[in-house]
């Protein structure tokens, strides 16, 4: 299922450079608020599971991730793409709301290093950085993650736990001084639906 959570409007983004754009900004903004989003970015959690490895539950998640041409241009121009995995674990209870057990945000940043002509993928949680010769290689890499999640001792035996994960994609500028302008450009940012499953401990 294709899910887009942000809004986009092609004329606002593509009719740049013309003087007529000045007079149509107001209408474009109102149209952006009123009209449905235009889908270019693909971001979906295709599979996710947890596996116990030496007393630690590890999350294996797979994304269907595809950037539109605008996104690729933005990265090559120097903007940084940020991909966040939001992971939540809750103990399922029958008659009362589920109890939160753990939540984690695993963030990655993808940027282009012009001098080395490599795409750098940086794990913001660990600080690890990997270089990739192509953007697609970097995207493939970030679309398949294995993340240590929580100690098995935190899960009570006999209980049922619900795991859910979703990914969100957006842009940021290297210094934040121009980040407010992304309101006008990052119309390919996206947030996936929650992918949820249960685990009987």
């Amino acid at each position: 299922m294709l899910v887009m959570s942000n809004s986009s409007h092609v004329p606002c983004r593509e009719s740049h450079g013309s003087r007529g754009l000045r007079g149509t900004w107001l209408l474009c903004f109102l149209a952006t608020l009123a009209w449905p989003a235009h889908a270019d970015t693909i971001l979906k959690v295709t599979s996710a599971s947890v596996a116990l490895d030496e007393g630690v539950y590890e999350l294996d998640a797979r994304l269907a991730l595809a950037l539109p041409e605008a996104g690729r241009r933005a990265i090559e121009a120097g903007l940084t793409m940020r991909l966040d995995y939001e992971i939540e674990v809750a103990r399922v209870r029958r008659f009362v709301p589920d109890a939160d057990v753990a939540s984690l945000v695993q963030s990655y940043e993808l940027s282009y290093h012009a001098l080395s002509q490599r795409y750098l993928l940086r794990n913001l949680n660990t600080g690890e950085q990997q270089g990739h010769g192509t953007l697609q290689a970097a995207l493939d890499r970030v679309a398949e993650v294995t993340i240590p999640l929580l100690d098995s001792a935190l899960l009570e035996p006999g209980s049922t736990y619900e795991f859910r994960v979703r990914a969100s994609l957006n842009l940021r500028t290297a210094p934040d001084t121009l980040s407010w302008l992304l309101f006008w450009t990052d119309d390919w940012s996206a947030t996936s639906e929650w992918y949820a499953w249960t685990l009987q401990r």
Partner: protein, 745 residues
């Protein structure tokens, strides 16, 4: 505080808060470009608030302009002046704003474009290319070193630790890893400065090496700095132990790495900004546009507001002037300023105040005049004197009821008509109008005269006075005339009656007393002397004394008649059956008249039952009327007398009417109005008191009597008597009230 003031305060508060919010949003939007870390998340909201504010302002302005257009089309006072002021103010504000906007946009576009001009981009690209070239040279050297190292390892056939360490030192690498083409590490040599754990061979390296191609790349490090990663295959699959991979990692000098980082950072920032250049321009222009629209709309709104403020006093003045013109002098204009307009408003209020006082004075005077007029009207209505006012052109202006009563015509209905056209035939009104008009036409503006008018059986003696009304200016023609006249007929009649009464009383006193001695003396003379005288003398004495006795008797009768006339009445009022009384009296004459060849007809209406009267006086009235008719018919062949009673209406009241008619010669026309006066008679033997006594008796009973001639010949006397005591008393009282007034008149 009233509701309107609360609403105004609430509106002002809402407008103030909204304006502050909006102004804050604009300032926030301006600050966004400089402090985006704080405002980047708020940017959409700030933008939305600004646009919402613009929409609200557009709505307000549209409302105001719509109202202005409606006022213009509706020709509302001051709308045209306001429209001209709004247009002038608006244009004066719009032109510089648009000019500034145009140049600001131009400068903005050119300024931002100048930041990203081609030279800078090209310079950065060249710098990156140059850096890459420098790094590629170094990377090629490192790759060659790695290939040499690989050949030595291949020549050695194995990778003893000492050899690998020596080769690493010789090549200057920080780390050498020997691994299988699947990535399994076989041998490692690391420098002391590097991590203990060897860096695994990345998949893309293995993939490329498996294809038989060497791998070299410049790799930025997360913690800073650069490494050069090289990898080459060692040996071949033909050697039977599988293909191996040698990965050597070489450091990059810190100084060079720092330069490379700086270049990369500059290149990235420039690229980022270049990429965001269009939205940056658009955002700046949008901010500028919002500010422009705000200024523009605020300027127009301010123009309308200012025009309204300036025109409002004028509108108030015009409205106030119209209200004053329509008579509303309570109009007070609000004093909103203390400038010249305020002075004007103050003057207007002062003027209306003075006007209102003047009007109040005028109203009081008018009210007093109305009161006086009403009083005068009441007085005139109550007056028995007729008052007629005339316009200068002799048209009737007013007439009081007494004038109508005296002249017998509805004079109040003649208001506005010319004096010359009033009345018909020989009516009293016509004679009166003609007499007055003649005097006035002759230029006699102020006069007093007694008129005698005869209309049919009615005779009126009027004392009339004319006075001119003052004109509008001194020496101007009179503003009209006032005719004041009184009916003095009754007064004169009363005066005559009083005089005759006095004459009668004196006659009765002075003449009646000597008559008896005269008669006795004559009879004594006759009795004493007649026997002793010769026949001739005796006859003479007899005729003489007889004449004396007869004349004395005649004089006695006359004196008795005068005495009867002057005698003060002593009434014994009672219900008298009129028909029965008439029947009794006429019966007394029936035999006498039959002998004279005169017929007497009596017509009694059964409805006439009784009247309140003195029976004796009423009997005398009937005797006088019938005797008068009998004397008139003396010597008249086929004489006929008719006596009738009937009911009639007089002033809405039923009265009993006695009508006595004869077929004699009738009254002389010129004497008809005087037949009831004493000593007015056409009979050779009449005393002239019969009808006078009739009128006196009638008046004593509150009735009225009229005499006229019948159309077929003969006289007719009509007597009206009230039926009951109440009506009689009212009539008598009315008559008594009228007499003194007439005397005064």
């Amino acid at each position: 505080m009233d509701a309107a003031a609360l609403r105004r305060a609430a509106s002002a508060a809402v407008i103030g808060i909204g304006g502050l919010l909006w102004l804050s949003a604009i300032l926030f939007m301006a600050q966004t470009a400089q402090h985006s870390e704080q405002f980047s998340r708020l940017h959409p909201w700030i933008l939305m608030i600004n646009i919402a504010g613009l929409v609200v302002l557009v709505g307000l302005l549209a409302t105001k302009l719509g109202q202005l257009v409606r006022d213009w089309r509706g020709h509302v006072i001051g709308s045209r002046l306001k429209a001209r002021m709004v247009w002038t103010f608006g244009v004066l504000a719009t032109l510089p704003i648009l000019l500034v906007y145009f140049f600001a946009v131009q400068f903005l576009n050119r300024g931002i474009d100048s930041w990203f001009n081609v030279e800078i981009r090209q310079s950065l690209d060249d710098a990156v290319t140059l850096s890459r070239a420098a790094f590629e040279t170094r990377m090629r050297e490192h790759l060659e070193a790695t290939q040499t190292l690989a050949r030595e390892l291949e020549a050695a056939g194995s990778a003893p630790p000492g050899l690998l360490e020596r080769l690493r030192r010789q090549a200057g690498a920080t780390e050498i890893v020997v691994a299988t083409d699947s990535g399994a590490i076989v041998a490692v040599s690391k420098g002391l400065s590097s991590d203990v754990v060897p860096d695994e061979v990345p998949g893309e390296v293995l993939l490329q090496v498996r294809q038989g191609r060497p791998f070299v790349s410049l790799e930025p490090q997360a913690e800073g700095g650069y490494l050069v990663r090289t990898a080459v295959p060692v040996g071949s699959a033909a050697q039977g132990r599988g293909r191996m991979v040698v990965q050597a990692i070489y450091p990059v000098a810190e100084r060079i790495a720092a330069l490379a980082d700086a270049l990369q950072s500059a290149y990235q920032q420039f690229g980022e900004k270049d990429y965001l250049r269009r939205p940056l321009k658009a955002s700046f222009i949008l901010t500028l546009t919002v500010v422009l629209l705000l200024s523009l709309l605020a300027a127009w709104y301010g123009a309308i507001f200012t025009a309204q403020k300036l025109v409002q006093p004028i509108q108030d003045l015009v409205k106030g002037t119209r209200a004053v013109a329509q008579g509303d002098l309570d109009t007070r204009l609000p004093l909103t300023s203390h400038d010249e307009m305020g002075f004007l408003v103050h003057s207007f209020n002062d003027m209306t105040k003075r006007l209102r006082r003047a009007r109040e004075d005028q109203q009081r005077a008018q009210q007093a005049a109305e009161t006086e007029r009403a009083n005068l009207a009441v007085i005139l209505a109550r007056l028995s004197t007729g008052v007629v006012s005339l316009e200068p052109d002799l048209r009737v202006r007013t007439a009081n009821p007494a004038a109508t009563t005296i002249l017998g015509d509805e004079l109040e209905a003649c208001v506005g008509r010319d004096l010359a056209g009033l009345g018909e035939g020989d009516s009293l009104l016509r004679q009166f109008a003609e007499a007055c008009r003649t005097r006035l036409a002759a230029g006699d503006l102020e006069w007093r005269e007694q008129f005698t008018f005869q209309s049919g059986a009615t005779r009126r003696i009027l004392m009339c006075a004319c006075t001119p009304l003052p004109g509008e200016g001194e020496g101007e023609a009179p503003g009209g005339f006032v005719l004041v006249f009184d009916d003095i007929t009754v007064m004169l009649q009363a005066q005559r009656e009083a005089a005759w009464g006095e004459v009668a009383r004196r006659l009765a006193h002075e003449i009646k007393n000597p008559l008896t001695p005269i008669r006795l003396s004559a009879e004594r003379m006759r009795h004493k002397l007649l026997p002793s005288m010769n026949e001739k003398d005796a006859q003479l004495l007899d005729r003489g004394t007889e004449t004396i006795v007869q004349q004395v008797e005649a004089m006695k009768e006359m004196v008795n008649a005068f005495s009867e006339y002057a005698r003060a009445p002593r009434f014994e009022m009672a219900d008298v059956n009129l028909n029965q009384l008439v029947h009794e009296v006429t019966d007394l004459y029936r035999a006498q008249l039959t002998g004279r060849g005169v017929t007497l007809e009596v017509h009694l209406e059964p409805a006439v039952t009784s009247v309140v009267a003195d029976r004796g006086r009423l009997r005398q009235l009937l005797h006088n009327l019938i005797t008068n008719a009998v004397e008139v018919l003396e010597g008249h062949p086929d004489g006929a007398i008719s006596v009738a009673t009937r009911l009639a209406l007089r002033n809405g009241e039923e009265v009993a009417e006695i009508v006595v008619e004869d077929n004699g010669p009738g009254f002389q026309r010129e004497l008809i109005g005087q037949v009831f006066d004493p000593y007015v008679t056409t009979k050779p033997r009449g005393t002239g008191l019969g009808l006078a006594i009739v009128r006196k008796i009638v008046e004593e009973h509150g009735g009225r009597v009229e005499a006229d001639n019948r159309a077929e010949g003969g006289a007719r006397v009509r007597v009206e008597l009230p039926l009951n005591e109440t009506t009689r008393a009212q009539s008598v009282q009315r008559e008594r009230r009228a007499e003194p007034r007439r005397e005064r008149a």
